[in-house]
């Protein structure tokens, strides 16, 4: 066991933890997106869903888990990035990509990651710890997140920021999703192509799916 702990800090295992947490986050994004899409069904549907989630006693465990995943992913990301910078103390006078390997997405992982981090901090401050409106359906009092969202996204800058952040997220997962399989050790000539496509498809769905929400809210406000 002690040897396993020691190996948690090896380059390979660190990378694998990144990959596993990254994939779990990818899963979270899917469920978060589906949940958020209830907005399209109107205030009651959305708020009731959120209420059901928040009042479920398991939420604390889930949130703690999610927090742990985020912290692990972010912590390791920062550590890896610093180590990687240190591995080349004198930088090149000229460095040209071959054009056959790295992509824009893969080369910008730390930056898109950072953007997501900044996004997250404000996102959670605004929605989770932001103003509390209430609404009541069938006698049940609950938080009116719907209102909060619509209100928040009346600001076009907020919408723009969200769209930009979602583009960063899209870039991040477009490389990250497939890359995670490589890190864990899955690379098979038969499936590589499919995996890369899936990764891009996933990125597009996530980006468009999330980006559509603020825009929808913005448009809703006009009514």
């Amino acid at each position: 066991m002690s040897s396993l702990c020691k190996r948690l800090s090896s380059s390979v295992v660190k990378k694998q933890l990144m990959a596993i947490t990254g994939l779990l986050l990818c899963g979270f994004l899917v469920s978060h997106l589906i949940g958020n899409c209830l907005i399209y069904l109107g205030a009651e549907a959305f708020n009731s869903y959120a209420h059901a989630l928040i009042t479920n006693p398991l939420i604390y465990i889930a949130e703690a888990g999610l927090l742990a995943i985020f912290l692990t992913h972010i912590g390791l990301a920062i550590r890896l990035t610093i180590e990687n910078k240190k591995a080349r103390p004198v930088s090149y006078y000229m460095k040209t990509p071959t054009g056959r390997g790295a992509t824009f997405a893969s080369a910008t992982m730390p930056y898109t990651g950072m953007t997501i981090l900044v996004f997250l901090v404000f996102h959670i401050l605004h929605f989770k710890f932001g103003p509390v409106y209430t609404a009541s359906y069938n006698g049940v009092e609950m938080r009116d997140l719907y209102k909060l969202l619509i209100e928040y996204f009346q600001n076009p800058f907020a919408v723009a920021w969200y769209v930009i952040a979602m583009l960063a997220l899209g870039l991040h997962v477009s490389h990250g999703f497939a890359s995670a399989f490589q890190s864990i050790g899955f690379n098979h000539p038969k499936y590589n192509c499919a995996l890369k496509c899936l990764s891009k498809l996933y990125a597009v769905v996530i980006t468009l799916g999330f980006a559509a929400l603020p825009i929808y809210c913005f448009l809703q406000g006009g009514n």
């Binding site: 040897s3 396993l4 390979v12 240190k86 000229m94 040209t96 071959t98 390997g101």
Partner: protein, 257 residues
């Protein structure tokens, strides 16, 4: 002699550094009389001949076989390890890639684990240390059974050969944005993991070679595949995946400490 009538003049920007402690700097040279048939290193020979004739110290660079197999040559050429061509070492690069009047920037491979000895010569002993940590099969001379008593599917043997063709040049490290040595290390781990002869010690090998690599201060891989793209032997990053899996299995399941 065939095309010597269209000789080129080049502007070279070359990294000069006296020794490991020197800070070093880029120095400009103008070189004429370069023919398209020359190899890149022959172009540097020509520069050195010119420098010696001017009683200046020639540019030190590593080279030996000059046919792309020993892994001795290196160089970042205009920001690319071994220059622009796919599957090509610097010694196999020819000046027909360049035009009259071009500027060529020449730097050593750079990484913390590969310090510069002088000018363009680097210290790659870290690679030997990694192999020493486990890149072998423990079989003493005389211990071998008849070669044909080990049957190996041709496909595995071919894949092992693909990985084994690594020449240890360190272009993978040089071109990786993270100065990671994963491709080199994984090539050896893969070769031996694919063969029955290597399986016996596969767990120990994966653990000790990767641990050594980490200890030496190489960066971590972020799956960028620049290494594969600039590897003169086209070593595939699927080897890195194989190594990752081998390491994971060994770290979790093996009885080795």
């Amino acid at each position: 002699m065939s095309h010597d009538n269209n000789l080129m003049t080049l502007n070279l920007k070359i990294w000069r550094q006296k020794n490991q402690d020197d800070k070093g700097q880029m120095v400009d040279y103008k070189l004429s009389g370069v023919s398209k048939d020359m190899s890149f290193l022959e172009m540097l020979d020509l520069l050195n001949e010119q420098l010696v004739n001017e009683s200046k110290e020639p540019v030190a660079f590593d080279h030996d076989c000059r046919e792309g197999i020993c892994g001795m040559c290196s160089l970042m050429i205009n920001g690319q390890a071994h220059g622009p061509r796919k599957n090509t070492t610097t010694c196999q690069l020819h000046m027909r890639e360049y035009k009259d009047g071009d500027t060529i920037v020449i730097e050593p491979f750079r990484a913390r684990a590969l310090p510069v000895h002088k000018d363009l010569i680097i210290d790659r002993s870290a690679f030997d240390e990694i192999i020493e940590a486990g890149g072998f099969v423990n079989v003493a001379t005389g211990n071998a059974q008849d070669a044909n008593s080990i049957l190996i599917p041709k496909l595995d043997s071919d894949l092992a050969m693909d990985a084994a063709s690594c020449i240890g040049c360190a272009a993978c490290v040089a071109s990786c944005n993270n100065a990671s040595a994963m491709l080199f290390v994984s090539a050896k781990i893969s070769q031996l993991a694919l063969l029955p002869q290597g399986k016996v010690e596969a767990e120990k090998r994966a653990l000790s070679m990767v641990d050594k690599m980490d200890e030496l201060g190489f960066g971590n891989c972020t799956n960028e595949a620049e290494c594969e793209a600039s590897c003169p032997k086209g070593i595939n990053i699927s080897n890195i995946a194989r190594m990752n899996l081998e390491y994971l299995k060994a770290a979790v399941a093996s009885k080795i400490d």
